[in-house]
Amino acid sequence: MKRTYTDRIRLPDFPLWDKMQGARKLISLDLEVTARCNNNCRHCYVNLPADDKNAQKKELTFDQIRTIVDQAVSLGALWCLITGGEPLLRKDFFDIYLYLKRKGLLISVFTNATLVTARHVEVFKRYPPRDIEVTVYGVTQTTYEKVTAKRGSFRAFMKGLEALNNAGLPVRYKAMALRSNVHELPQISEFCKQRTKDYFRFDPFLHLRFDRNEKRNRMIRNERLSPQQIVAIERGDKERRLALEKGCDKLIMPELEHVQCDHLFHCGTGKGGFYVSYDGFLKLCSSLSHPSCLYDLKKKPLKHALEDFIPRVRDMRSDRKEYLEKCRKCAIFNLCLWCPAHSYLENGHLDKPVEYFCKVAHVRARSLRRTTGIRRAQFESMITNKAVA
């Protein structure tokens, strides 16, 4: 038999993931190259105007990005998401993209596709990203532009998307479900699924802005679906329904009632990856914007963040009774959008319950009760004790 010296490995099967499990190793980074966007979406938690000079001035320069990326690569990062704002707004997008490629990173790009040109297509064809994720706000001009608040954006989106599709580039699709487009969600889903064998996801969870702009936050709250609407669309999507039912034993856990733990972080944030904001701050995840959870990569080395800063943030604890008694011991904690990052965006504290999230979690839980096999009365008493008034 002929001996082979190279193994072709599809990424999901890469043995490195196993090796990294549990260890504090770096796998990925998310690079927010700008907070500016050419659209003005009603629900967006980042977007600043495309011509915002102040935001542009604060953006990491190409050299600063190189310095951060060099450190990440030397520490083992293999994966990089380029996100924004709208990343294609950066005049040096190609420099950044090709630099990351030449460092041996696998690249994902999040874009609204409206700024895609023949040159983007040419570069992506020659130097392929692992995937390009495009968000679909609507499939008619009226709905799309109601969300983006930008005339002509639907036409630009369709043109950009067709260019990516025609070139056979690996496009993934995402939709945000909000009041302005929920009536069109079945058509959006159909539109996306027709264009990909791979992947389509929708997200009905709108969180508030990183910059805490209250006027914009009101717009986001107004776009949020009711808990009943969220559950209805989740139940209406077969894949999502089955995934929720399958994961039910992890999503509804009566044993959490006995938990004695005051740690704030129970997710995987900061394990294996980190987020770099457009102005150069390391965050454990994109949403975690509390000042005590920001680390200035323009001034301090990444290695120190991984070895010291991130573990210290992950070790943060709460002494707020409301959180410890309600959220932390809640059997449906894992069905809830609540997390310290979202809590801070909602109310300025990392450990305060959020009524809207709580209501959504309860309606979701009730929709899954039958799958759990728990009797209704027992189930109601289990979840009602922890409800936030």
Binding site: R8, I9, R10, L16, L78, G104, L105, L106, R126, P129
Partner: protein, 103 residues
Amino acid sequence: MQPTVSLTQVYKQSRDVVARDVQGEFIIVPVASGIAEEEDEIYSLNETGRAVWEKLNGKKSLKQVIKDLAAEYSGSQDEIKKDVLGIVQELVERKMLVKAAKK
């Protein structure tokens, strides 16, 4: 048709791939199209493959590379030659190695 590998030829690593040591795993990541068959593929080189890869820097012919490896590693020159030709053949087929001008 398979590319023919010649002992007198000098080979170098293609600019269309990047080799990296990630947590002790030696991998080759395709940078440009035409290397991987799927978008989400990377390549892993075993220890022998890595030792050969690191010698292929566009400066020495395969014959010289084999001599250098024989001086560094145990094993007969014939075995090393067989390994080197096998590895180079495979990497040239995958377009990870390209011919360099002879020195």
